[in-house]
Symmetry: C2
Subunit: 492 residues, 2 copies
Amino acid sequence: MKTGIAAILTVLLGVAGLPAQQKQVPAATDPVEQYVVAHRQEVLQEFTRLLAVPNVASDTENIQKNADALIAILQKRGLKTQLLQLENAPSAVFAELPAVPGKRTVIFYAHYDGQPVQKRDWKQDPWQPVTVGDRIYARSASDDKAAIVGLLTALDALQARHQEPSINLKFFFEGEEEAGSPHLDKLLAKYAGFLKSDLWVICDGPAYQNGQPLLVFGSRGVVTAQITAFGPNRPLHSGHYGNWAPNPIVEIAQLIAKLRTTEGEITIPHFYDPVRPLTEAEKNALKDLPNLDAQLKNEFGLGRSEGQSSLADQIMKPALNLDRIEGGGTGPNPANAVPSSATAYIDFRMVPNQTPEIVQEQVEGYLRELGFYLVHTPPAPAERLEHPRLLQITWGPGYPPQRTAVDAPVSKAFIAAEKTATGDALLVMPTLGGSTPSFLFEQQFKTPVVLLPIANFDNNQHAANENIRVEYLMNGIRIYAAVFANLGKYWR
Amino acid sequence: MKTGIAAILTVLLGVAGLPAQQKQVPAATDPVEQYVVAHRQEVLQEFTRLLAVPNVASDTENIQKNADALIAILQKRGLKTQLLQLENAPSAVFAELPAVPGKRTVIFYAHYDGQPVQKRDWKQDPWQPVTVGDRIYARSASDDKAAIVGLLTALDALQARHQEPSINLKFFFEGEEEAGSPHLDKLLAKYAGFLKSDLWVICDGPAYQNGQPLLVFGSRGVVTAQITAFGPNRPLHSGHYGNWAPNPIVEIAQLIAKLRTTEGEITIPHFYDPVRPLTEAEKNALKDLPNLDAQLKNEFGLGRSEGQSSLADQIMKPALNLDRIEGGGTGPNPANAVPSSATAYIDFRMVPNQTPEIVQEQVEGYLRELGFYLVHTPPAPAERLEHPRLLQITWGPGYPPQRTAVDAPVSKAFIAAEKTATGDALLVMPTLGGSTPSFLFEQQFKTPVVLLPIANFDNNQHAANENIRVEYLMNGIRIYAAVFANLGKYWR
């Protein structure tokens, strides 16, 4: 169920055909801006050297070369480093500056591994970075080595003018995010001492589709369910047995119709009870988000959207999604037969304070109320005979939602700090529609989590010819530097 | 859409585990019985010689050998024969006895071709007939060469005692029924002069599952529809876009829920209006049919049936069957995505006086009433954008139902004539649940049609090791002879 943060942000933001300009670029009189301009070549050289190391998580030898290279560039800057290791997993790279008592500690997450490549689809070798126009093309150019180089360059910019960061800095660079972070929970637990902080900042993903800088305060949780209805033990001729042998497709369709409307409203009794109402701050943040619905509908070929409100508003609510439905086999011509089963594949997206456990209880309770007998493994023939209305329900793994209050002191401080670079162009999204393991950080460390993406949305993330627009990298550096320099000032 | 009559009867009656004895066998004092006993070996020899000619419709050379063999055994009996030919189609074989003015003319249909074979699944060569116990094993042993030999032997039995048939006899033996009768309508039209009669008797299929002899007076019509609902033009991440991007699986499920209930009741307005009520005679016939529901439910692993009434009662009504549903792809793990389309495959079974045209009009009218915009070919992107509720509906070929009144003079006469052989064991089914092209005969010739099956239901029809129980063949001969001898007496 774990879905890479980058993967999720890609899908969210991977929309072509929308304007892609960063707005409200700070004036050239800014000291960070001066550093960026003066050291542009140096920064890009370090970046492309790092991009030249192949970085698929399963490529054990090269992935370790990446970790070693990171250790080297971190140590060069005077950071104390540590390889965080688990058996049969790529090392994570940890680094920190000496802590100054009385300052908040903030840990910045990025990942140094990249998606596997199909070399034939690339115009170049994915690990031989090439600059074309205003873009650098290479695997991980935007996902997610730009964040790493951006963070370290931001630190350079501060060090160049002998400016102490306003916060104690820690870095955590994961080496298998694109492989689904299978060891992340264990790493966090094992190295909890190193990783302790007052805030996690997830540096991954692209900015808003219209190019505005973005700060995201959470993500929806997810849990999947597979529900099967049964008909005869073998397909039966629909002429001879149709409207006598129970049709499992009809059973499952009628069931779906009882679970939700075509407007996205979930009709499971009490489903919304645990949902905590939007705060005034969340409502205000939503109001400030540019509504891209019209463009998105056009882009996706949609004549309508569900629910009468904007995408940003809709993802503040839970969702019941039908991902797949099966019944009656596949192939060119369906038999005219009553099939022996039909299955709906559902995913629930949850918002605070829902949990997978609550959802499971509500769904199963409702199904029983509707008269169904539930089993969790394939029913025996005798069970099918005995229980005329029988469903098999199989729950997949899931995790809860996570949302940091947009008006928490840390959030207000973060927004204020970032705005010193972006001005009012900064957009605040209270949640991502998708699900990230951000709850893992919150759960392990009881700290807030924010997501801070910097890449251009049209970066071909996960695909061939991945790229970053140099201006987005430079803006990222400005944003990170602003956070380093100012977060501690605003966060008292 | 055309489905072989034999295929349909197989599926209807292909139920294992039920008693398989013929009942009410006539006494040995009957002259036909005496002929059958005396000539048993001769009959079986002629039967096995015919079974030894390979008879797959696409095997042009052998299929013609079958036709030639039939011509020979028909001429041997003094019948006038005619090959009925169409280009690129197996010949049909026509035969008749000289007509006696004033007598009704009845044409008996059977087919001499058989299903293709998978030789490795057979215990023997499918065209080298083998007798094991009370059964003869060979391709077409029951489907449908038994009917041909049965009909001709019945004629022999009458001729042996110099008894004139009570009706003028015609025979029509088709050579591509198992290939779906693709030229049947054209053959009937081209040779309408030869084929003119007062009644068509379809000699194909097995007796009732409990072994009782069976007479069937019609079949349900059929028409298929494929309905597709559309979502985004490509699958969208269900976290980021779920409950905003319209989910086509939900659209199609909600639609199915509006078309019919889980009890088989069709909720399309006015759908039942054209259905003519059951006649008293049909109701009485239904009452007399042994209710095998409990056994069938057990056999098919069903904890319930739809609609609160017996199978025989249910098939007197139209049906809306969901044959297949698709959406969200196939494969081991569905993506958590809002799919771009979902499709329901439906077949409608019709009863008099419904027609495919009426059903199409009702369905499309209702869908429009529900607010859908309908297209009949894949919609262009602009159409999807313009019409928020859009469905593509594709109708398959179909044909209307056919039912001969069970209390028509011809029907009463037929029942009475057949009962001279079966006694009261004869079961009358007003209709088959499945669809046969029986309407083709009715339509071309404006004559009634009855279906007269004789094989044991456990005959492995269409499968390996097809067989007929010799007693069922012998009973078939008795039944045919009774019809030849007596139908004209009762049908005035």
